[in-house]
């Protein structure tokens, strides 16, 4: 783990490295998506998707979100990964609602959305406050409450 660093000084903007461009990213995503399409086609083999497939997709998305929470250090992106996880769960709920014919599954999804909205708002307010004081959005810097 990173050692607690002092508040980072803002560096010269011209030296900023914005990382790979958006176009490149979209390209990589497209390639990856194509691969996934191929895999899914094989899995489905012309049949309609079953509940298992939806839930499986939900699981994969959830795991990706969880990994994102573990691996990303920017607080905002971390939050976005949490939203990703919530969405994955929503897919599962809707799938089960369809499977069992119960509208309650979809109602729960609605509630999840509402709560997620409230949670994001409050969380972002806190992040803003933290950023005001520490001038850093790196979660590794927030390690004051330790032994």
């Amino acid at each position: 783990m990173a050692d607690p660093t002092p508040i980072p000084v803002s560096e010269d903007v011209s030296a900023a490295q914005p990382g790979p461009g958006l176009g490149r990213v979209l390209g990589i995503v497209a390639v990856f998506a194509t691969l996934v399409v191929i895999v899914m086609a094989i899995v489905l083999r012309g049949k309609q998707p079953r509940a298992a497939h939806y839930v499986g997709l939900s699981m994969l998305l959830f795991t990706v979100g969880a990994l994102g929470v573990l691996l990303r250090r920017n607080a905002l992106v971390l939050f976005m990964c949490v939203e990703l996880m919530l969405n994955a769960v929503n897919i599962a709920f809707v799938a089960f609602a369809r499977l069992n014919g119960v509208i309650g599954g979809q109602v729960i999804v609605l509630f999840v959305m509402i709560v997620a909205a409230a949670e994001v708002a409050v969380g972002l307010a806190i992040i803003v406050l933290i950023f005001r004081r520490r001038h850093s959005a790196n979660v590794d810097d927030l390690s004051v409450m330790r032994w």
Partner: protein
């Protein structure tokens, strides 16, 4: 079926892309793609109201909020936009292990007979705004009211939190 395959792949791809994207704004945009794909998946499952709600609330409000905050904090600042790529190995290892275990565990649920059957048909109006609204105001009235209260509390809380100290 094609809808599922297509949009499922896009959703998965956008998620993975978000995982590796260093730029926060790009990550937000990929999240939007993901949310929209999920909305379409809702539609394929017969949840029309949720399809619309997802687009309006999630993609249209929450991610916008994210982008607002990113811009508020200064989109030109490196600390906000990017992340250093140091000391990640342990996290990768631990995360990888945890992720594998999680996936394996969850996969155990997929074998059931009912899960592999064809999805049953739905009565007309299943997932429509009318049906959801009816259950919201009958069976789920209490949670509905409580979420109203929740939103109120959240609003007040945010106001208190974000108030600037008077100098």
């Amino acid at each position: 079926m094609t809808l599922f395959v297509l949009f499922g792949a896009v959703a998965l791809g956008a998620a993975v892309g978000m995982l590796f994207q260093r730029n926060a704004v790009h990550a937000a945009l990929l999240l939007v793609v993901n949310l929209l794909s999920v909305a379409v998946l809702f539609l394929t499952l017969g949840a029309e109201f949720l399809f619309v709600a997802q687009i309006i609330v999630y993609a249209g409000a929450i991610v916008i909020l994210f982008l607002f905050v990113i811009m508020l904090l200064g989109v030109d600042r490196e600390e906000v936009l990017t992340e250093p790529r140091r000391f990640q190995t342990r996290q990768w290892v631990l995360g990888g292990i945890a992720g594998v275990i999680l996936l394996a565990a969850l996969a155990g649920t997929l074998g059931g007979a009912r899960m592999l059957q064809a999805l049953p048909g739905t009565p007309a109006g299943f997932g429509s705004a009318e049906s959801i609204g009816t259950s919201l105001f009958s069976t789920y009235l209490l949670p509905f009211e409580v979420t109203g209260l929740l939103l109120l509390v959240a609003t007040i809380g945010i106001l208190m939190l974000a108030k600037r100290e008077p100098r």
